[in-house]
């Protein structure tokens, strides 16, 4: 009925309360946007000495340097994306089946497994990467691309698994049985029935796995040992020396995040995105 469909709003909304809400929302927005603003300004500034509030001269120097193919930046960006893509692919490949097991079945030791998978999400990377570094030196994986990819799996794989476990918890396997009884083989069932049902979850999980790898700093720094360059390392090296380049790099660094958010809003009805633990990114 109309009353139930319409949201209940309480009577009495004096003007100051409405104004207060807008002041609050504006303040919140300003706070959220504030740190991004100087990055943009720096990226197009040429001269910006204290105490000028805005640059006295603008230039596209930082941007031309960042997108110049002869410089490292483009290569490093590709490198970062390549690492993130491989990490994402492995996360999907391993995480989807594991999520299926956790989401669909009850079994002995399930809590232990959940604990094991939750741990890398909560335990900070630094606490384990020192030990991993020791192991990787012995295995010859330190200072190498495969080593970096492997170590990136530590945060992304559990994340993907948990997302998929949530997806499978709401998935009805009777659809698969129905398909089998209608004559579909194992593979056909996976392809035509299972995959479409879990696809939105896989997309969202994959996008966030990508972002987690893309943003990784300390794991790459230690395991890559300076031999594997990624965007965050590059950005860090310019923060003090050249704010204009750092600003432009930051903007490049944000781009996938914006893209992911725009894309994932197609698959997420809005507010469940963070529940899986995106704050760790």
């Amino acid at each position: 009925m109309a009353g139930a469909a319409a949201k209940t709003t309480l009577v009495h909304r004096p003007a100051w309360r409405v104004t207060g809400r807008w002041v609050g929302i504006t303040g919140l927005l300003a706070f959220l946007i504030a740190p991004i603003v100087p990055l943009f300004i720096w990226s197009i500034s040429f001269r910006w000495f204290y105490p000028a509030i805005l640059p006295t001269e603008y230039s596209a120097r930082a941007w031309t340097e960042v997108i110049n193919p002869n410089n490292d930046v483009v290569g490093v960006a590709w490198n970062t994306a390549l690492i993130a893509l491989v990490v994402t692919a492995f996360s999907i490949l391993l995480g989807v089946p594991a999520g299926r097991a956790l989401g669909l079945y009850e079994f002995r030791g399930k809590r232990l497994v959940e604990w094991l998978i939750l741990a890398p999400i909560i335990v900070p990377g630094l606490a384990v990467v020192l030990g991993i570094h020791v192991l990787f030196i012995r295995a010859g994986l330190s200072n190498s691309l495969p080593g970096v990819i492997l170590v990136h799996l530590v945060p992304t794989l559990p994340y993907m698994t948990l997302v998929m476990s949530g997806v499978f918890a709401n998935y009805d396997t009777d659809f698969e049985l129905q398909a089998r009884s209608l004559g579909a083989g194992r593979l056909a069932t996976q392809w035509y029935v299972t995959l479409p049902a879990i696809f939105p979850g896989v997309v969202v999980g994959a996008m966030f796995a990508f972002i987690i790898s893309w943003s990784q700093y300390v794991l790459t720094l230690l395991i890559g040992g300076g031999q594997v360059q990624t965007l965050p390392l590059l950005l860090f090296s310019f923060v003090r020396s050249d704010p204009a380049i750092a600003g432009a790099l930051s903007v490049v660094f944000i781009l996938p995040a914006v893209l992911v958010l725009l894309l994932s809003s197609r698959y997420l009805s809005g507010d469940s995105a963070a529940v899986g633990g995106i704050g760790n990114i």
Binding site: M1, A2, G3, A5, A6, T8, T9, V11, H12
Partner: protein, 365 residues
């Protein structure tokens, strides 16, 4: 005890759309049980929320004992609403739920404890203090929600679909409980329902709403015997309608002319309405016509016939014995008792002349 008056009460959820509640004028008697009845989307819950202070009216006024309460905050109105899905606070015990209103008023813990116990007795659930809402059945939750509202001694008790979430056998029990408590405490009570039977059984008076507008505000039997319009009669269901023209206590229809002293319109376009159980088969005499039995079902306690009179099909409910005497295809005399015919104004939507029976049961919503 409080008398509630709605005056030109209007609610629009946005500028463009039709109002959800449209210029409602109802005077709810003090100490009585009044039903707001209507199909889903008719604005009855919206009306109730406005009385409770949970929605702000767009226009019009709500008066408690003659003084406007529109500007008063919900917590200060003394009008407590019990929601359809009970909404017991899930993280509180039963006792904390019931005592909530008193705690908000700063009543001492010991007094709250005593009064909670009294309330649990009143709703016949003594000893349930420490249970959690999750551990209760739907009917029990409903009782606790009722106790939680009654403990603050409201001037006006507002019940949103109090019976709709209950199983059939619990419904009778809860109906008796509500009616008993209401009579005992004499609280002015308004309840919302989409079920006309529920309204008829429970209410002293019924306000019927369609699309936000008041259709009829009357005692329950009036809706069966003297409904104001065809739509109202259809909502209460199970009636035969035959269009015609009326004049001087008679109505002329496609199937004949009938004496009908009880009318809502004096002359002109009109609709003859008669309940299926008021139609007599066989017999003959005044006000009768010839018809042919088209089909019948034997229901046990009664039998239902479909009878064609010319081009018009009507429904007749008789005692089950008739099944032995009449078979499909038989010609039969059909009598409309003049005292049981009610003449209505023409249907608002100008529908065609085909008799239209058992049409009006609205889906639950």
């Amino acid at each position: 005890m409080t008398q509630v008056k709605l005056s030109g009460l209007t609610k629009r959820f946005d500028e463009k759309s039709e109002p959800a509640v449209d210029r409602l004028d109802i005077e709810i008697e003090s100490g009585k049980l009044t039903a707001l009845l209507g199909p889903s989307g008719c604005g009855k819950t919206t009306t109730m929320k406005m009385i409770a202070g949970l929605l702000r009216p767009t226009d019009g006024d709500i008066l408690f004992d003659g003084s406007s309460i529109v500007g008063i905050a919900p917590e200060d109105r003394g009008a407590v609403m019990v929601f359809q899905n009970y909404l017991l606070f899930p993280y509180m015990s039963v006792a904390d739920n019931i005592g909530f209103g008193l705690k908000m008023r700063g009543v001492s813990r010991s007094e709250i404890r005593t009064r909670v116990r009294d309330m649990l007795d009143l709703v016949q659930m003594p000893g349930f203090e420490e249970r959690r809402p999750k551990q209760l059945s739907g009917g029990q939750q409903q009782r606790i929600a009722l106790a939680r509202a009654l403990i603050v001694q409201p001037n006006v008790l507002l019940l949103d679909e109090p019976l709709s979430n209950l199983d059939a056998h619990l419904r009778d029990e809860m109906r008796e409980l509500i009616s008993g408590i209401q009579t005992e405490l004499g609280i002015t009570t308004v309840f919302v329902t989409h079920d006309q039977e529920e309204a008829v059984v429970l209410a002293d008076k019924i306000a019927l709403l369609f699309e936000g507008r008041l259709q009829q505000f009357d005692v329950p039997d009036a809706f069966y015997e003297t409904p104001g319009t065809v739509d109202i009669a259809k909502f209460f269901g199970g009636t035969n309608f035959i269009p015609g023209r009326c004049e001087d206590g008679r109505i002329t229809t496609a199937i004949g002319r009938f004496r009908a002293p009880h009318t809502a319109v004096d002359r002109g376009e009109a609709v003859l309405s008669i309940r299926p159980e008021a139609v007599e088969l066989g017999g003959g005499g005044g006000n009768s016509v010839r018809g042919r039995i088209r089909s019948h079902v034997y229901v046990g306690r009664y039998a239902r016939f479909r009878v064609m009179i010319g081009e018009v099909e009507i429904e007749v409910i008789t005692d089950p014995g008739q099944v032995k005497k009449l078979s499909d295809g038989d010609e039969v005399s059909v009598r409309f008792d003049p005292d049981k015919i009610w003449i209505l104004g023409p249907a608002a939507d100008g529908k065609d002349g085909r008799a239209d029976s058992d049409s009006a049961r609205q889906p639950a919503g």
